[in-house]
């Protein structure tokens, strides 16, 4: 840049040939005219003009340069990036009035902002020359419209030059200064993208010494009052008729000398002239038609056009981009002078009002117009379709490391996009890229500064519709000062209800990092603090966030979103280009992605197992959101399920609002979603010991999602899976239709086995059917769930008692494998009760509960009942007695202390509430039955053996556990049994005997619970698969099951009853682990440094700026820092 700056300030007495951009040519021309001051607001395609002066101003301001380059610094050019185009033009006008020559530079739409100043100054007078450079953007490469700024000429009555090339731009800008000084009007140089950004040959000349200038003159013209304007208008029009103006029209609307008597003619203007020149040279058109280039286009070159078309011209083709400006002028002239000439322009051939012209368009239209055959290159054969179709567009994206990405991401976490309730009003600037995928966090973009007004207006519009919904305005820092500021003032003034997020990246990023009032470089500029400005406008709630600090910023934004009235959040972090992309050179670390965690399932080894977590962008976003928003972060392996249900996926589905999928995720592993929601032991909650701030209430959630909309009733998916399983020809007999047997059957039938279940009862369900009272669980739901296996293809043989109708040996011979899962159906007896209480006054707990289930109990109301035992069955029995009649008196005696009691705490809680007395640390020392039928009991402390209580009761229920009766009917005896007569299992439930497996309560060491039985059944199913085939995976719930088998709950978990806002509960938690159904980073924030290769994401270190954002948001925790050399 220094080289270009020195070059542009150097006077060349001997003209120097250069190849420069059109915009630079304009700047050089202004310097050759000794411009005193340049005012601008940056905007593509005009920016390079002002950039030249920004560098010049910086160069000339350096004291060292004053010494080193005296010739280049002796006449300093004042330059500023004004707050907006209106201010820029106003100051340029003022400068000119003050006697200094000025140039004002802006893009097409900037002129709209500045127009108020332009429309009136023409009625008055300027002083020194004032040139206005406006750059149009045909084809809208980087603009919000394709307006044709040439119309400002007739609109404001100012002369307009329209260069076709850098060389033209240089010549015309110089003449614009001369003309403006003479006629005391601003003169416009109207550029287009293709002229501004094309580099072409031009010449640097000498720079004359500055002309003597005058100061402000006290003239009546400087005061605009209506009485003077009428006269002023006439004067203005006469100035356009100035001889200098006319001579310049002649100079720049010149007819080529060859072919001037031909019948056909071409008039071109702007870049179309360059295209025509090239086509004409290629095809030797010179002399075959009349040709004129219109370089100065306002005032309309009426004389030139008339002369050009006179004397026999039959038809003329007008070549100009955008509107038919010249074409209409030609039509006026032809009509006025009755020229018999047909006029072709817009809509002829491929000439359109929209978009840019090209060599091809101009060549084809000239060919069609003239009938002269043009030379054309032979094109290559058409690309094969597959190649053609895979040439995808390359839309611009926010840069790697851009802080706006973090801000948009935060908004994405906070504003649910599915409902489309909250409208996000965006604005002009790089952050407008947030409207494109994958961010898509902007709903409206209009012109510059519109966002804040848009949000206000939309709020009012919706309010009148009855929807009082806060709106959000998103605005860049530059735009805020450009025109957002007055709109914010209006919002405060009119009591709007909106959140304004100012994307403060400390610069005007889009156009190449210019200063603005909020991010200025002293000493030249004075920086304004956005927060103070906003507060000064009367906004009460103003916060600043560092968007890369996601957790804190999330909470602040959330609060601001809930605040009433106008709230403003300034997301402040510098553009990545300002912090220096070379940071990497100094950083001794890099970002790596662990492929083991990226898009990987942490729950399964066997990827053929069903996973019902749908892959949704929202699901992944929710996972990532919890990482930032939840206050409780729990690794999913701490809330393990012995049945290997993916609790992480389960919670994620619920957080996404997809309750049906949550139920399906449970069903991926077992039948009993609703039943487990009621009565699961919930080891996932009880054994999650590392988290003091709370654990995810899986069981309550399971109950909620299963019940919701009757979700548990729909078994279509598991049935479909079982039906579509490929039969493997293997036959399995399962004895016992309890949770263990049914769970094994569920897995085996889905793996293609033929499964036959035998049970002594007449329906599936086993002990759960009658041993757990109906007030603790939904029996109907249980029966429904247990009954689904038949639909899945499992055969049931009921009323088959092992040892009678069926034998183990027979089944073993007739099947490929046998699973023994008949449970422990014999209650243990307490000798003291057994001996001393008559049969009609005592029950074992299973008989009691079964009798209750079958409605066979008849106790006198007001009976006193002693229940001996501390497990759930004891409490069930006690509560059952109370259900029979509230008048019954129930006492529970257990040897455990209260904190060691095996019954669920909430069950004992219910019991206590119902008036049941629980005597902990007690045992029956004496028990006698009197002749009156009263049973007299002495209870002693189990610990101290001291007498606790003596009382009388009517009945005793013993609930001290069950034992196996298998020795009676099974060949498995002696060495196969433990001390409780439970069958000792080897790996995965194998008994070691023939092809027989064991599961559930009958299996030694297996936890005596529904979940213990389910997991045991599943493990045995895995064992059978390994035993019979090539199945290579171990039981995936093994860790959970082992933990269940060996530990006691370390803490008591509260059961949550879900009836209010589910999100209030679930949003507290992040139960995280890596997940296969991810792709979060690619789908949700689209950092250009992140690539997906073979399903895994990789970091492109060439592009990575080490912002670390991906580390903070990866829901799989797969991204991390790696120190160099480690």
């Amino acid at each position: 840049m220094l080289k270009q700056t020195i070059d542009i300030l150097t006077s060349y007495d001997k003209p120097k040939k250069v190849c420069i951009m059109g915009n630079v040519a304009v700047a050089r021309a202004a310097i050759e005219c000794r411009v005193d001051a340049v005012f601008s607001y940056p905007g593509t395609p005009s920016t390079e003009v002002s950039e030249v002066f920004n560098h010049v101003s910086e160069f000339q301001g350096k004291p060292a340069h004053k010494e080193k380059y005296p010739a280049l610094t002796s006449y300093p050019v004042y330059f500023e990036y004004s707050v907006n185009e209106k201010i820029a033009l106003e100051k340029a006008i003022a400068c000119s009035i003050g006697g200094k020559s000025a140039m004002c530079v802006m893009k097409n739409v900037g002129m709209n902002v500045a127009s108020d100043a332009l429309m009136t100054i023409t009625y008055q007078t300027i002083g020194a020359p004032l040139v206005l450079v406006v750059c149009d953007d045909p084809g809208c490469h980087s603009s919000s419209n394709e307006q044709d700024s040439r119309y400002w000429g007739p609109m404001a009555s100012i002369p307009v030059f329209n260069p076709s090339s850098p060389l033209d731009a240089c010549r015309m800008t110089k003449d614009a200064f001369v003309l403006s000084g003479k006629i005391k009007l601003p003169v416009m140089v109207r550029m287009t993208t293709r002229v501004s950004h094309t580099r072409g040959m031009t010449v640097y000349h000498s720079i004359p010494p500055p002309m003597s200038s005058h100061a402000f003159r006290f003239l009546p013209e400087h005061i605009n009052i209506p009485a003077r304007t009428g006269l002023a208008h006439k004067k203005l029009l006469s100035r356009l008729d100035d001889p200098l103006c006319r001579s310049m029209l002649k100079k720049y609307c010149v007819q080529s000398s060859k072919g001037k008597n031909e019948k056909m003619a071409v008039i071109s203007s702007g870049v179309a002239s360059v295209y025509f020149r090239e086509i004409s040279a290629q095809n030797n058109l010179s002399g075959k038609l009349r040709y004129m280039e219109a370089g100065m286009i306002h005032p309309i070159p009426e004389n030139e056009i008339r002369k050009f078309l006179q004397n026999g011209c039959k038809k003329v083709l007008v070549l100009e981009e955008l509107e038919p400006f010249i074409e209409n002028a030609v039509r006026i002239v032809a009509q006025k002078y009755s020229l018999p000439c047909k006029i072709y322009g817009k809509n002829f051939s491929s000439l359109t009002v929209t978009g840019e012209y090209s060599l091809d368009i101009v060549r084809d239209s000239v060919e069609e117009f003239s009938g002269i055959r043009m030379l054309k290159n032979k094109k290559l054969p058409v690309l094969p379709d597959d190649l053609k179709n895979s040439v995808s567009p390359r839309p611009p994206v926010l840069c790697a490391g851009c802080p706006h990405r973090a801000t948009f991401y935060l908004l994405k976490l906070l504003v649910p996009r599915e409902q489309k309730e909250m409208i996000l009003c965006g604005d002009i600037g790089c952050f407008g890229l947030g409207a494109l995928p994958p961010l898509k966090m902007i709903d409206t973009i209009h012109h510059m500064g519109m966002s804040i007004s848009m949000a206000q207006g939309l709020y009012e519009a919706m309010k009148s519709e009855g929807k009082e919904q806060k709106t959000v305005a998103l605005v860049g820092d530059g735009t805020f000062f450009h025109s957002g500021i007055s709109s914010l003032m209006n919002a405060v003034y009119t009591r709007a209800n909106m959140l304004v997020v100012i994307f403060d990246n400390r610069t005007i990023g889009m156009t190449g990092h210019q200063d603005h009032p909020g991010a200025a470089h002293p000493p030249k500029y004075n920086e304004l603090d956005i927060v103070s400005v906003v507060k000064g406008l009367g906004v009460k709630s103003v916060e600043t966030i560092n968007p890369f600090n996601l957790r804190e910023s999330y909470q602040i934004l959330k609060k601001a979103m809930l605040a009433d009235g106008v709230s403003v959040v300034v997301a402040k972090a510098p553009c990545i280009f300002l912090t220096g992309l070379n940071l990497k050179k100094f950083a001794r670390r890099k970002i790596v992605i662990d492929p083991e965690r990226c898009n990987s399932c942490a729950n399964h080894c066997d990827m053929s197992l069903s996973c019902s977590l749908p892959h949704t962008q929202r699901g992944n976003l929710v996972r990532a959101k919890m990482k930032i928003a939840a206050h409780t972060q729990i690794p999913a392996q701490e809330q393990l399920c012995p049945a290997n249900i993916c609790n992480h996926g389960f919670l994620n589905a619920i957080q996404t609002g997809d309750f049906k999928s949550a139920v399906e995720i449970v069903r991926d592993k077992m039948l009993f979603s609703k039943t487990c929601g009621d009565i699961c032991h919930r080891p996932c909650e009880l054994f999650a010991t590392n988290h003091v701030s709370g654990i995810v209430p899986i069981r309550s959630l399971k109950k909620f999602v299963s019940s919701k909309n009757g979700n548990y009733r729909d078994f279509a998916h598991p049935i479909q899976r079982a039906r579509s399983a490929k039969p493997n020809g293997k036959k399995i007999a399962i004895i016992g239709a309890g949770p263990a047997g049914l769970s094994a059957a569920y897995d085996l039938v889905q793996a293609g086995f033929q499964v036959i279940v035998y049970d002594k009862e007449n329906k599936p369900g086993g002990m759960v059917t009658y041993a757990i009272p109906s007030f603790r669980m939904d029996k109907e739901a249980f029966i429904h769930e247990a009954g689904q296996l038949e639909k899945m293809g499992v055969t049931f043989h009921f009323k088959k008692v092992l040892g009678k109708e069926i034998t183990l040996e027979e089944l073993s011979g007739a099947n490929d494998a046998v699973l023994l899962a008949i449970g422990l159906n014999r209650s243990k007896k307490l000798e003291i009760v057994d001996k001393n209480v008559p049969d009609n006054q005592k029950w074992d707990v299973l008989t009691f509960l079964k009798d209750f289930h079958l409605n066979r109990l008849s106790l006198h109301p007001g009976s006193a009942v002693l229940v001996i035992g501390g497990g759930n069955s004891a409490i069930d029995a006690a509560r059952t007695v109370k259900k029979l009649s509230p008048m019954n008196i129930v006492l529970v005696s257990c040897i455990e202390t209260s904190d060691a009691m095996p019954a669920f705490p909430e069950e004992t809680g219910h019991a206590l509430q119902e008036g049941i007395l629980i005597l902990h640390d007690s045992y029956v020392q004496k028990c006698t039955t009197g002749t009156d039928g009263k049973i007299s009991i002495d209870l002693l402390s189990y610990g101290t053996k001291k007498m606790l209580s003596r009382f009388e009761c009517d009945y005793v229920i013993t609930a001290i556990g069950q034992e196996s009766a298998c020795a009676e009917f099974s060949p498995l005896d002696g060495q196969y049994l433990d001390e409780n007569n439970r069958i000792i299992k080897q790996e995965n439930g194998y008994t070691g005997y023939k092809n027989i497996f064991v599961a559930g309560d009958l299996c030694s060491g297996n936890h005596m619970s529904v979940i213990g039985a389910i997991a045991g059944g599943k493990m045995a199913a895995t064992g059978i698969r390994k035993f019979l085939g090539n199945y290579s995976y171990d039981y995936e719930g093994k860790d959970g099951l082992e933990r269940l088998n060996r530990s006691m709950p370390a803490r008591q978990a509260e059961t949550i009853i879900i009836n209010g806002n589910l999100a209030e509960i679930t949003d507290q938690y992040n139960l995280y682990q890596s997940c296969m159904k991810c792709n979060h980073c690619i789908e949700n924030f689209g950092c250009p440094a992140m690539l997906r290769v073979n399903g895994k994401v990789q970091v492109d270190m060439d592009k990575c700026t080490l912002c670390g954002f991906c580390i903070d948001v990866c829901p799989n925790d797969a991204v991390r820092w790696e120190m160099e050399g480690m």
Binding site: K17, R199, M201, Y275, R277, N377, L383, L387, S392, P395
Partner: protein, 200 residues
């Protein structure tokens, strides 16, 4: 071909690959050589990873614009971008293509495949004068040097409009290292690239 005394070069790639840098070098060199030149660049939002093309014309009566079928040389710094410019090539064109991919977003998400570069090279071999493919792996050479190497390989070709000695002078002023690679690529293009068989 219509241009008897004009040569047109198209440089295509993605923002950040140094397209403007290469065109600057060519412009300066042709000024040294006394060849009139013009450049037209399209880089709407190039800093943000968008497509960038630069068309450079050498000789009188051309102004930096290339019509369909008008590019005598294609310098493709990225294969997908080279394919996108396919319509500007003609039967006598020479294409020098760096096949190192820069994946666009749509490909990243898996919604469209990346074009089959090999098939495109085959297509070019059948239809244009010469196809040169820059080697994927250039051991010991930093990625930022690839563009100057591509320029060197292109400048080694017959009919290249600017004598490489003029380019040497310009590149030498920028960096001795760039000059070293440029020179080497001009002298030993086969170190860095594979030459496709010409159809003739």
């Amino acid at each position: 071909m219509p241009h008897n005394n004009t040569t047109k070069i198209l440089i295509a790639g993605v923002g950040g690959q140094g397209i403007v840098y290469l065109s600057d070098i060519l412009v300066e060199a042709s000024l040294l050589a006394g060849i009139p030149t013009g450049v037209s660049e399209i880089h709407g939002l190039s800093q943000r990873g968008g497509t960038v093309t630069s068309s450079i014309t050498f000789g009188k009566n051309s102004y930096g614009f290339i019509e369909e079928g008008g590019a005598d040389f294609l310098i493709g710094l990225e294969p997908l971008e080279a394919i996108r410019c396919n319509n500007l090539l003609h039967g006598e064109s020479v294409a020098v293509i760096d096949v190192k991919r820069i994946i666009p977003y749509a490909v990243n998400t898996g919604s469209v495949p990346y074009p089959d570069t090999g098939r495109f090279i085959e297509y070019l071999k059948e239809n244009i004068r010469k196809v040169i493919r820059i080697k994927d792996d250039l051991p010991g050479i930093e990625p930022v040097m690839r563009n100057i190497i591509v320029l060197g390989v292109t400048a080694s070709q017959k009919k290249f409009p600017v004598d490489s000695r003029f380019i040497d002078k310009i590149v030498g002023k920028i960096s001795p290292e760039h000059l070293k690679y440029f020179r080497d690529a001009v002298n030993n293009p086969l170190t860095y690239s594979y030459f496709g068989k010409s159809k003739n």
